[in-house]
């Protein structure tokens, strides 16, 4: 038996810990929520941690999950013990190889953090749609319901696959299990050695391809024998259930933990039974236990081995007394006669000859929808009915098809011995990290069981985080969030959230409320919203307050209040004696931060020591008297759809949205971020007209479109708010008009890029600019009124000016505004610029990644529309297919244009010169487009009056006759890696599409994994020792076609070149590729200095600016123009401002120096090459 030492880890680590130790090759590709399994493996391999045979496995990141599966297949065929980790779309991409691997009877285990599939919308959250999509591949499927099970069944799967020769898919619920931190009993290397039979390993090797004993595998087979060949494997599948059970029994002998293929729990004479897989099984089982204690006769069958589905084992597990079965599927198969597990159970009952059992099936928990005891009880209750609902849903309100079961949300089976704590934090404040530490302390330093689960909203700045912690003397079997009115302890680490969200709903009567606020003991009560006061009074909460910011400031912790709030939690909760708690926190600080240096440890220690002196209990008055109220979810003037559907999501109450409130096909209105006033900036920019030169640079660089400028008639000022600022316009195109730079105070993130970009300096005080930061709260109300006034001022006539200058371009209305991207994001200024230049006629194909998340993650979208109702139409297909997706859009536009012209020509006699003018319109500039719009509007009016088929036909697509602009947008992970094949093909097609690559040189959205764009010498996940190979030169590859417009831009280095390139790219009647340097949080830089880094990247030659315009070839000119000068600074002056490079200096100085030298050489050789290309002679010999 293994030792009873416990560790506190999450599900992904539990799986990776086993997979890593029993593998020789691991090929992976990052995808949420499985990414950390690969990252753990990479980290362990880079540190040389051995597998059970004494060697570190080879871990390799591939360009896609398809690529990972291919490599896994190859490694398996040559005899390595090989594994991979994936989820969702990634698993779908592996399916072709999975058929092959199974068909060839090859032993392997893939570990899946099961996740939803993108359908009407993408979801990163957990359900079984992905694994169910792979159930037909011939793989055994084994499901785990909790972190300990993940650890154990991973081992059993690896052992069984070697015995059975059938590959195994080991899955567990994404996030709920993959990210739940729980105390488990770990398996030692000896345990694993015991479980993995070396004879089977050697047998696996003996089947490998080798020239020493050559064979042929992977033939093409004909109708005569393919079928027979397919049937050869049946005995192997038949043997799997027995093999798995035998391994489970062996495992039980080793560890004391017994698993079964189908585990029954409940009354031995149960009449009503639920069948379920995954984490929901634990909830159902605990609910059954509670119901049986109350005198009911219910039970639960938890399915572990789902494929091959052993009817015999299933029937054996089911009590003979069962009269009604409810089968719960965490997936949806539209159009089927039932979800897969339900169908399997129906079939099993029939084939096993059991009669007299009513079977119903239902769906639950899609996309991590909570599955609580209340919902499980609703299912058991439904089985009591004489006519129970079949094909039901539980957990939602379905007021369209009426599938949903009602449930009582107040039903709870929480144990009184368990302490439940909910912490609401700000993403940047370290709350989640501190809570992970707390869970480890409680789990590993006390006898208590402990569980932590963490939830994040979908913003990348100003994020709200929720930490749900349970601990207590009894084992915690509660894989669901802490529900309303059940938390003993609620902490709010960000005061401003109190006015936006109902945080005290979690608190149970008599519980504790801990608040971090800037207020003193005397001030804090009166500054609470009245609703919060009332809740504290009604629930009789003990109320504690601390000004953690003050402690953080005192101790140099900046905005991180994690250690401080953690100390408060331990001090108040009493989970450990105070002295011991502080000692444990300090021990944990040393463990977590010790490697980063003594100063970090010391600083955190000081924060701990200073905390208690600042923590105090607040006397709670008897009455709520505050003059402040919680804010409305959205402003009253928001449209009905926003009020009904988006507002609950904004208020974190999306659970209350019924099916009828959701669009049927995933189509949402744009322009909705304007309703989500987040007020996340502590400071906002303030305009100083006396210094302003009206250059527009501040507007140009703003990542969030929160600072804008306008020229307008001076008469408009008559109704301006008192504090609205204005000056005379200096635009030559708009003489005699007024000019204003205005900030949206409630949407600004406070990133300061605008201040950095401002070129003006006050002559009497050079630190003062035409834009300066000032505290937001005192300005909030007045500037919000100013913004409203400004927003409603008329927009400039697009045709009245040349958009080719920075200041003019920024008069165009941004149709991408107030995104939830990181404060100071380097990508969004480019996206916003494109929306300004072409937004009213643009269609966007957006690859999955950061830009699809800040662009299209509910509840709101920054893509907006203008006063005429025009704006970018946006869609995201997948990660890998974005170029092809955009090409399809182009093909439609081209074909419909051709057809519309075809129809119009046929009817031209009816419309006189109008038809000819439309057909021959020059739409090369805004004036031409405006005129064409006017013509098409006239034509539409005329067509509307006609009832003939052709007129109606033409009317349905006549808008296409106004020039459209197709934009294919994505990051480097897409363009350089997973989508490169498609990108290449689309460029080669010669079609008129505009491709914007937001190049952060890393997979930003999934947390900084290396891509082929990652430069040599930079550290990234999967390149922990610094990337050894140079960055792929996508621009050079694209130029090699000769007919692709290519530009490399960096707005921080040369904004005018950026603007010029984007205008030229769009104007070019063919494929265009713009590669845009996008500084990123994953570079480890001060984001306020992102533009400076762009400049340094160009000066160092790392990011040469150029434009390659094939149109110039026809003019006998060289198409390549180099827009930057010879490298003028050494590379280290650029790279060592960034942690991604500098950390290598700190971990391996010699390698850092070697790679820097090589990277410097890369720069020289590439620049020399470009210069030669740019100097090449084009044209005939005579010119």
């Amino acid at each position: 038996m293994s030792k009873k030492q416990k560790i506190t880890i999450d599900g992904n680590e539990a799986a990776a810990s086993v997979a890593y130790r029993v593998s020789e090759v691991i090929a992976i590709y990052p995808i949420t929520p499985s990414s950390t399994m690969g990252e753990f493996s990479d980290e362990w391999a880079s540190k040389g941690k051995p597998n059970i045979w004494g060697m570190a496995p080879h871990v390799i990141e591939m360009q896609s999950e398809g690529g990972a599966a291919g490599s896994v297949h190859g490694a398996l065929q040559t005899g390595s013990l090989t594994t991979t980790f994936t989820a969702s779309q990634g698993l779908l991409l592996m399916i072709p190889n999975m058929y092959k691997i199974a068909g060839e009877l090859t032993s392997t285990v893939f570990h899946i953090a099961a996740r939803a599939i993108a359908a009407q919308g993408l979801s990163i959250y957990g359900d079984h749609q992905d694994v169910m999509s792979a159930r037909q591949t011939g793989w055994a499927m084994i499901g785990s319901g909790g972190v300990q099970e993940v650890h154990d069944l991973a081992t059993i799967a690896h052992a069984a696959t070697l015995k059975a020769r059938i590959p195994f898919l080991h899955f567990f619920d994404g996030f709920r299990t993959s990210h739940e931190v729980t105390k488990i009993e770990p398996l030692s290397d000896d345990d694993l050695r015991e479980m993995i039979d070396m004879e089977t390993v050697m047998a696996h090797r003996s089947r490998a391809l080798s020239p020493e004993h050559p064979v042929l595998r992977g033939t093409a087979q004909n109708p005569d024998v393919y079928f027979q060949g397919r049937e050869t494997v049946n005995p192997y599948y038949a043997a799997v259930p027995g093999i798995v059970q035998a391994e489970m029994d062996k495992f039980a002998r080793l560890t004391g933990r017994q698993y079964k293929l189908f585990e029954y729990a409940g009354a031995p004479d149960a009449e009503r039974v639920v069948v379920i897989m995954g984490s929901g099984g634990e909830t159902a089982e605990e609910t059954a236990k509670a119901l049986n204690a109350a005198g009911e006769k219910v039970g639960v069958v938890r399915v572990h081995l789902y494929r091959p589905f052993s009817i015999e084992h299933f029937a054996d597990a089911l009590p003979a007394s069962v009269k009604a079965l409810a089968v719960l599927d965490r997936t949806k198969e539209p159009g089927s006669s039932g979800e897969p597990l339900y169908m399997d159970v129906v079939n099993a009952i029939v084939e096993s000859g059991r009669t007299g059992i009513r079977i119903i099936g239902g769906r639950y928990g899609l996309s991590s929808k909570e599955f609580t005891p209340a919902m499980a009880k609703a299912v058991f209750d439904e089985l009591k009915k004489s006519q129970p609902k079949n094909h039901f849903t539980v957990g939602i309100k379905d007021d369209v098809s009426f599938t949903s079961l009602d449930f009582d949300p107040s039903y709870s089976i929480e144990l009184s011995e368990t302490v439940r704590c909910v912490f609401i934090g700000l993403g940047a404040d370290g709350t989640v990290g501190a809570n992970k530490n707390s869970i480890k302390i409680i789990g590993e330093e006390t006898e208590n069981y402990a569980q932590g689960f963490f939830y994040y909203d979908s913003k990348k700045s100003g994020t709200l985080t929720q930490s749900h912690l349970r601990f207590g003397s009894k084992e915690i079997k509660a894989p669901y969030l802490i529900s309303n009115n059940t938390a003993n302890f609620v902490a709010c680490h960000q005061f401003s959230f109190l006015e936006r969200f109902d945080i005290l709903k979690f608190a149970q009567p008599g519980g504790v409320f801990l608040l971090n606020s800037l207020f003193t003991k005397e001030e804090v009560w009166d500054n609470l919203p009245v609703e919060v006061q009332q809740a504290i009074i009604d629930k009789k909460l003990k109320f504690y307050n601390i000004n953690a910011y003050e402690v953080a400031e005192l101790t140099g912790m900046g905005s991180r209040v994690n250690t401080i709030m953690q100390t408060c939690f331990f001090a108040i909760s009493g989970v450990l004696p105070r002295e011991q708690a502080i000692a444990e926190i300090k021990h944990s600080i040393e463990k977590t931060y010790g490697k980063r240096g003594e100063a970090v440890v010391k600083q955190n220690f000081e924060a701990v020591d200073q905390t208690l002196a600042h923590l105090y209990e607040v006397a709670v008055p008897e009455k709520a008297t505050s003059k402040l109220s919680m804010r409305a979810r959205v402003p009253a003037e928001a449209p009905a759809f926003v009020q009904k559907t988006l507002a609950p999501m904004i208020a974190l109450e999306g659970e209350e949205v019924p099916v009828s409130a959701m669009p049927v096909d995933g189509t949402f209105p744009t322009g909705t971020t304007q309703w989500e006033k987040r007020n996340i900036a502590l400071e906002i920019p303030v305009w100083e007209p006396s210094l302003c030169i009206q250059c527009g640079k501040c507007v140009f660089v703003c990542p969030h479109a929160v600072i804008r400028h306008k020229v307008y008639g001076k008469d408009e000022l008559a109704s301006a708010p008192a504090t609205f600022k204005s000056m005379d316009s200096k635009f030559k195109e708009f003489p005699g008009m007024a000019y204003t730079v205005q900030v949206a105070p409630e949407d600004c993130t406070g990133c300061t890029l605008c201040v950095e970009a401002c070129p003006v300096k006050d002559k009497t005080q050079v630190g003062r600019k035409a834009i300066n930061m000032a505290a937001q709260p005192p300005l909030r109300e007045s500037e919000a009124a100013n913004w409203d006034f400004f927003y409603n001022l008329p927009e400039v006539d697009r045709a009245a000016m040349n958009p080719g200058t920075i200041k003019n371009s920024q008069l165009l209305q941004p149709l991408f505004e107030f995104s939830g991207a990181c404060a100071g994001c380097g990508e969004t200024p480019y996206v916003k610029l494109v929306s300004q230049l072409f937004g009213d006629r643009m269609i966007v194909a957006n690859a999955t990644g950061c830009s699809s998340i800040y662009g299209g993650n509910l509840p709101t979208t920054p893509w907006a529309f203008n006063k005429e109702g025009r704006g970018p139409a946006w869609s995201n297909s997948l990660f890998e297919d974005n170029a092809e997706f955009g090409l399809g859009m182009r093909l439609t536009i081209d074909k419909q244009t051709e057809y519309a012209k075809f129809l119009l020509k046929q009817m031209s006699a009816d419309f006189g010169t109008l038809a000819e003018e439309i057909l021959s319109a020059n739409q090369a500039d805004e004036t031409g487009i405006k005129q064409q719009r006017e013509r098409v509007a006239v034509l539409k009016e005329k067509l509307a009056d006609r009832s003939d088929a052709k007129s109606r036909d033409l009317l349905s697509l006549v808008d296409v006759l106004v020039k459209k602009s197709v934009w294919i947008i994505g990051g480097d992970g897409w363009a350089y890696d997973i989508g490169y094949g498609g990108l290449d093909h689309v460029m080669a097609s010669g079609r008129n599409v505009n491709i914007l690559v937001l190049d952060t040189e890393v997979y930003s959205n999934t947390g900084g994994q290396s891509s082929k764009s990652t430069p040599r010498a930079a550290v990234a996940k999967f390149a922990m020792s610094g990337k050894g190979m140079p960055k792929k030169d996508l621009g050079l590859i694209a130029m090699s076609y000769g007919y692709v417009y290519v530009a490399k831009v960096a707005m921080g280095a040369n904004d005018q070149q950026t603007l010029k390139a984007i205008l030229e790219a769009e104007a070019y009647d063919g494929p265009s590729l713009i590669i845009a340097y996008s500084h990123c949080i994953s570079h480890g830089i001060d984001m306020a200095k992102g533009l400076d880094q762009q400049k340094l990247a160009v000066q160092a030659g790392h990011w040469p600016l150029f434009r390659y315009n094939p149109d110039l070839i026809a003019q006998n000119q060289n198409p390549l123009t180099l827009d930057s000068k010879d490298p003028s600074i050494p590379l280290d002056q650029y790279v060592y401002n960034e942690t991604r490079y500098r950390m290598l200096l700190q971990s391996d100085e010699a390698r850092a120096e070697m790679l820097l030298k090589e990277a410097q050489h890369d720069i020289k050789s590439r620049w020399d090459y470009y210069k030669q290309m740019a100097a090449m002679h084009y044209g005939t010999g005579n010119d």
Partner: protein
């Protein structure tokens, strides 16, 4: 044959040309080249406690920033957990240099906390340093901080450090001290075995195109020799501690002048950074040639020979220069 040997901090040196703290000691091979070129001793580049703290906090900041804020990106940079933070790298390097070169190696330290100064000084000694040089690199910009307070702090610091180390201790000073001889005397009495005159601060400049304050490194020139030359001359014989002259030492003449003023050693870096290691043998050869030509037997013979105590007109080092200049101006036609 002339004798170039000297003693400094109780260390017997083969000549008085010492490599001062500079990037030249950051690499083992360049430290070796200094040795091969013939320097009498090597002062390591400085260990800056403030930099150690800053690097540590900075790494922590960027590794932590943005973590656990987003369900997809729980972190943005891999935490390798293997960082050479703290003084370890410096001390290992010092140790390696000591084992590689044949001449004495002096560790150079700039601290910010009392604990840091003493701890790192002790660590340098343990790593093999033959002596420690305190690099008092501090700009007193706070109008509430008095000269007395600052000097008291330094004196106490010297005393504290001396109490934890057994190797000799030198203090590298700023010239911006109101009453340098008194301060020098106090340092000497507190246990300083040597004073290095002077520290050279990087001076900020203005970029008028961009209206920004800029920092750039400028190398010294021989004109800068005069300031330390004066003060070495004045201090020679008045304090127990040895004197080392640095700033503006570029030629054999500069070395000879330094010796005559009373320095036990001269320290140079700019000349080597600008013109290469080969300047060391050149300078030494020229010193020797000058001594031969002028019939000096040893360096020790000339040390202090033109100090304030030794010259006919000691006032020349105090106000006489000024008076002379004024009178020469008056005598203009």
């Amino acid at each position: 044959m002339t004798d170039l040997t000297t003693t400094y901090l109780g260390l017997k040196l083969k000549n008085p040309v010492v490599a001062s703290a500079s990037p030249l000691t950051k690499k083992l091979d360049s430290a070796k080249k200094l040795d091969d070129a013939g320097v009498g001793a090597i002062v390591m580049y400085s260990l800056f406690e403030e930099q150690i703290i800053h690097e540590s906090l900075e790494l922590d900041h960027y590794l932590t920033r943005g973590t656990y804020s987003n369900a997809e990106a729980l972190s943005y940079l891999p935490d390798t957990g293997m960082y050479a933070m703290g003084p370890g790298k410096y001390l290992d390097h010092l140790s390696a240099v000591k084992q590689t070169v044949s001449v004495p190696v002096i560790g150079s330290l700039n601290g910010v906390s009392k604990g840091g100064w003493t701890k790192y000084a002790r660590s340098m000694q343990d790593a093999g340093a033959d002596a420690i040089e305190l690099n008092l690199y501090y700009i007193a910009a706070d109008p509430f901080l008095t000269g007395q307070e600052l000097e008291d702090t330094y004196v106490e610091l010297v005393s504290d450090i001396k109490s934890v180390i057994s190797v000799p201790l030198a203090v590298k000073l700023s010239p911006f001290v109101t009453a340098l001889p008194n301060f020098a005397k106090r340092l000497s009495e507190a246990g300083a075995d040597g004073l290095v005159l002077f520290n050279r601060f990087y001076q900020p400049d203005f970029d008028l195109d961009n209206l920004e304050v800029v920092h750039s490194v400028t190398l010294s020139n021989s004109d800068e020799l005069r300031l330390p030359l004066r003060w070495v001359s004045i201090l020679y014989g008045k304090i127990r501690a040895d004197l080392a002259l640095t700033s503006g030492v570029h030629t054999a003449t500069d070395v000879i002048k330094s010796m005559m003023a009373g320095a036990k050693v001269t320290m140079l870096a700019s000349e080597l950074l600008h013109n290469g290691y080969g300047r060391v043998p050149d300078i030494l050869a020229n010193v020797q040639a000058w001594m031969t030509e002028h019939e000096y037997e040893s360096i020790q013979q000339m040390q202090g020979s033109m100090s304030q105590q030794a010259v006919r007109e000691p006032a020349a080092f105090e106000r006489a220069n000024y008076m002379k200049m004024l009178s020469s101006w008056k005598s203009l036609p």
